[in-house]
Symmetry: C2
Subunit: 310 residues, 2 copies
Amino acid sequence: MPASYAYLGPEGTFTEVALRTLPETATRELIPYVSVQSALDAVRAGEAEAAFVPIENSVEGGITTTLDELVAGAPLMIYREVLLSITFALLVRPGTELSGIKTVSAHPAAQPQVRNWLKKNLPDALWESAASNADAARLVQEGQYDAAFAGEFAAARYGLEALETGIHDAENAQTRFVLVGRPARPAAPTGADKTSVVLWQRDDHPGGLRDLLGEFATRGINLTVLQSRPTGAGIGNYCFCIDAEGHISDRRVSEALMGLKRICLDVRYLGSYPRADMTTADMQLPLRGTSDEEFVAAADWVARCQDGRF
Amino acid sequence: MPASYAYLGPEGTFTEVALRTLPETATRELIPYVSVQSALDAVRAGEAEAAFVPIENSVEGGITTTLDELVAGAPLMIYREVLLSITFALLVRPGTELSGIKTVSAHPAAQPQVRNWLKKNLPDALWESAASNADAARLVQEGQYDAAFAGEFAAARYGLEALETGIHDAENAQTRFVLVGRPARPAAPTGADKTSVVLWQRDDHPGGLRDLLGEFATRGINLTVLQSRPTGAGIGNYCFCIDAEGHISDRRVSEALMGLKRICLDVRYLGSYPRADMTTADMQLPLRGTSDEEFVAAADWVARCQDGRF
């Protein structure tokens, strides 16, 4: 097993910055890949221990390339998640002034997050999309464009300077990244975990999605993400990518997963992992009646009823 | 243990007729009691093996005396149920003609079921309530009243004749009786069973009853009876007497009972017993996803996910 992590490259992007927040990266080789798919395929092929890719963006929503790979490709599991606040710097060659900027570049995903800033500060600048924000910075370094939107951390690497920092149209713009590996036993529960699954409905009927959600609601489980994705079987055919609070070793979660397995055409388990947005201390107590202790006590009671001892 | 069954007397009532449909009564002494409560207390005191009492009437609804005893008295369990179609005969002393009937008598529960017949056929007859239909027949025999509404089977016992039979205002008027004993292991499932429980809500909140019903619905369990009864804690405080399809040894039922136990203030298990209205052949297949096999398969799948083997 090579001690390397694949990630969506190139170097110097938000993805690499997010990846480096994981302590275990200190002892791993980090290898950039040109696409989400190639990074995940490196894991499937055993060339990398895990892959680190974006999965959700608070401005644009789910990253469909990543979701579709997890939904339909050879099975993989999520082991960690990282949330990174995304703010852009305007990187220019040293000495460039705002008034001298005629062209700006960045990855297309950056555009919705800098659009208002551009309108106000550089209304006449021409937008040129680049393969990544880091690539845009490189093209500025090479003189092809005047300015790039990228993470401030990219300035040093490309000999640029940040003319402006903290650019973000939406407050609290965040991107969520996941560390994905081959299926194995999930990490132990921390008390503040998430479980990800993909659900395929058995047939289309009124209340079908409501029935699926009922399996969570009945056990007092909150959902953090519900994203529908086409199954490829034609218009109107969707599967559901769901992130739920809790760990598969929590009784309420395992019972909900059993219920879903019974009523769905198929369920793909995508892992249980510590949530990045809160710690155990931030977690609300589980809804009354849904703690492991209450599950055990209820099972004991039913066993006594089955025996006529009560 | 005395091999005797207590039942709501006197002799010669619908209750006795219903009780005698149970094959095991051939080898038991059948002892009439003056009230539901005294029959049930005989079981609690160990004087009788079981008690046979009415619990539900298709015209009048739940028999509250019986329900309240099962809800609040020392715990008992239902082991059998019997459905009896109730049609009345008009019993008179031999030779009496319709035109000669000035007074009619029966138990008050009979009145709603013969009201229309009386209006049409004996509009001027005076109604006199009796302690039971059998008692009314006895009073006719003794000359106190001219006619009694009772089961046709009561005629011979009291030297009367049936001037008219098959009297019933409501089509398919039925009474449901239950055989009640001290708590013990329920009878083995037959494939067409019912499970009875009493539920006390933890607190009154919007959607509270809907949450209770959701525990059944989520597992594809149909309810046959839902009857609310005051808890005695003041106006608006009710518990719920519920009969559900299935046996406590069915996985879908045991899981629903566990769910109720977790969310309710209290649950009283009243037994699982063969249903009288249908046999296994009449039963619909359980809703897809709720068979024991599907529960076992789903539990196996979750265990594999917990191990990372899938």
